[in-house]
């Protein structure tokens, strides 16, 4: 009789324990289901997004992001172009000056040739007149 009661008690307790575990299982749900069909109220990220949304104005419509460094870059490109233009002008002027110098050098060379020829003629005249020239 005692043994029967013990067995009955044990069975009752086991049944209760199983019932408790089954109810826990039913309440916890399965996380392997597709996100979206599981209850989501406690998601930490959702709470954060809710806070971000509170900071959001209702008037928010068009977002406009401007890269100010692009205009810096454009300014740098413009500055470079201006510098190039100035350098180019200077190059043209220098080129002209170089041409003049070349022309002057040419003139000087022909002058030098004329002087050399005159000296040679003078030497020849002196020799013809019996004047001996030292080297």
């Amino acid at each position: 009789m005692n043994a029967k009661r013990m067995l009955l008690n044990a069975a009752t307790i086991c049944f209760l324990a199983t019932a408790v575990l089954l109810s826990q299982s039913a309440l916890s749900g399965s996380a392997s289901a597709t996100p979206g069909d599981a209850p989501v109220t406690s998601d930490n990220l959702k709470q954060r997004v809710r806070i971000l949304e509170l900071l959001q104005d209702e008037d928010d419509k068009e977002f406009l992001l401007v890269d100010a460094s692009l205009s810096d870059l454009n300014a740098r490109v413009d500055a470079n172009e201006a510098r190039c233009e100035r350098t180019s002008k200077r190059l043209v002027e220098t080129d002209k000056r170089a041409d003049k110098m070349t022309q002057r050098i040419g003139e000087n060379r022909s002058g030098a040739r004329m002087i050399r020829a005159s000296i040679e003629r003078l030497k020849a005249d002196l020799r013809a007149n019996g004047i001996r020239l030292s080297d």
Binding site: Q24, G29, Q56, D60, F63
Partner: protein, 406 residues
């Protein structure tokens, strides 16, 4: 006697509870956030300034933010906050600052994968991620959003992983590289990735990938459907335009070159190492891109066939895919745009399926892609201005990572 009996019963009950628990109470297992599903709530993008990057994307960021639904919040990663000014009345965008001395790309899709259970969202980073300083992205987001970052020992890039309603699709290269690193089989690697992402894994392809990231060519859809790029169809449409209206193609090609550096006056830049960055030649290259796209078609057909055999209903979306196997290192940089209409974001709102679709500037091809998605039951929200990012090989999904769905 009675005390002993109670003691025995108590022990028995404890043992039953201990061993029975796993059968009745399952611990929540985080699963990868799918590419298909409910309304998108939170995304992350990355903006690079003109003075820090040759790929400046401010206009593209504007197009993405304004192209997404009004109540989507955008976390915007920046490493040069001082360079940016934004409209005052806008709280949709939260700036996430990456240290100024670091160098980031515009591709937040790659350095981590998002998983969640009903309690928490977590970011899983690969064991190693060497592209510039993009590994910092997950850590900075974690600081701002209070989400946990878990570093995995596995190697992966988010762009080579897409997630459907029940399965995760991973490109062959990722599994192959990991099988070599961990000296194990592809099947074992599938199991390890499956445990990491909490879903069964399907390997896309069975040999070295022709296209680096599968998110450019494979898009999971709802109801056991999947979209695969069709580069033959994309080539046909583009060829028709080239034959009938060559001026339009030339205009597109010129726009690509003009817009490459964000300023038509800039012909070349110099990188941090002193190497010259040149604008790739696009003018006159569409004909070659059409031929290359046709050559890739069989490989994409095989992927479509693989997924079809697995029981998926496969829909095909046009794509124009230029050469993906550069012969020299110089050719491995930016090139003719990769025009993918699979690199998209999708969501379902009250039985309405929506696709956010990148646009590149060949009107006939853009329109054909829109029509194709519409035929498959989607409301299309086109987002303009992806030609420059496509010259670097990425589009909308590469630029925009979904962190949370409703």
């Amino acid at each position: 006697m009675k005390t002993t009996t109670i003691g025995i019963l108590f022990t028995l009950l404890s043992l039953i509870t201990l061993f029975a628990k796993p059968f009745f109470v399952s611990e929540p297992v985080p699963t990868m956030l799918p590419d298909v599903g409910t309304k998108i709530k939170l995304v992350v993008c990355s903006a690079t300034s003109a003075r820090k990057s040759s790929l400046r994307n401010t206009e593209l960021v504007n197009n993405i933010v304004n192209g997404l639904d009004e109540d989507v919040h955008v976390m915007l990663l920046v490493n040069d906050r001082a360079a940016f000014k934004q409209s005052l009345n806008n709280g949709r965008v939260t700036f996430v600052e990456i240290p100024e001395e670091s160098d980031i790309t515009i591709w937040p899709q790659d350095p981590f994968v998002v998983v969640n259970d009903k309690e928490n969202t977590k970011l899983i980073t690969p064991g190693l991620f060497q592209r510039k300083d993009d590994r910092l992205m997950a850590a900075q987001l974690s600081t701002i959003l209070g989400v946990e970052v878990i570093q995995s020992e596995l190697l992966f890039e988010g762009g080579n992983i897409v997630c459907g309603e029940s399965e995760v699709f991973i490109g062959f290269d990722t599994l192959f590289i990991n099988s070599r690193v961990f000296e194990t089989s592809i099947e074992e690697m599938e199991k390890r990735f499956s445990r990491l992402f909490g879903r069964p894994v399907v390997t896309i392809g069975n040999q070295t990938q022709d296209i680096g990231h599968i998110d450019l060519i494979v898009t999971p859809l709802s109801n056991h459907r999947i979209a695969v790029a069709d580069s033959r169809l994309g080539a046909e449409i583009t060829n028709r335009t080239l034959t009938q209206s060559p001026d339009r193609i030339t205009r597109f090609e010129r726009n690509c070159e003009k817009g490459f550096f964000g300023n038509a006056a800039i012909e070349a830049l110099v990188d941090l190492d002193g190497n010259s960055i040149d604008c790739p030649k696009v003018v006159g290259q569409t004909k070659t891109a059409i031929t290359d796209s046709q050559a890739l078609a069989d490989s994409l057909d095989k992927i479509a066939s693989q997924l079809s055999q697995r029981g998926y209903e496969v829909v095909r979306i046009p794509a124009l895919i230029p050469n993906q196997t550069p012969e020299t290192e110089e050719q491995s940089g930016p090139a003719f745009p990769f025009m993918s209409y699979n690199n998209v974001l999708t969501e379902s709102v009250a039985n309405l399926s929506i696709v956010y679709l990148p646009q590149y500037g060949i009107a006939e091809l853009d329109a054909a892609a829109i029509q194709c998605w519409e035929t498959n039951g989607f409301e299309v929200r086109p987002i303009e201005g992806f030609q420059t990012s496509a010259m670097h090989g990425g589009a909308l999904r590469c630029c925009t990572k979904v962190l949370l769905r409703e």
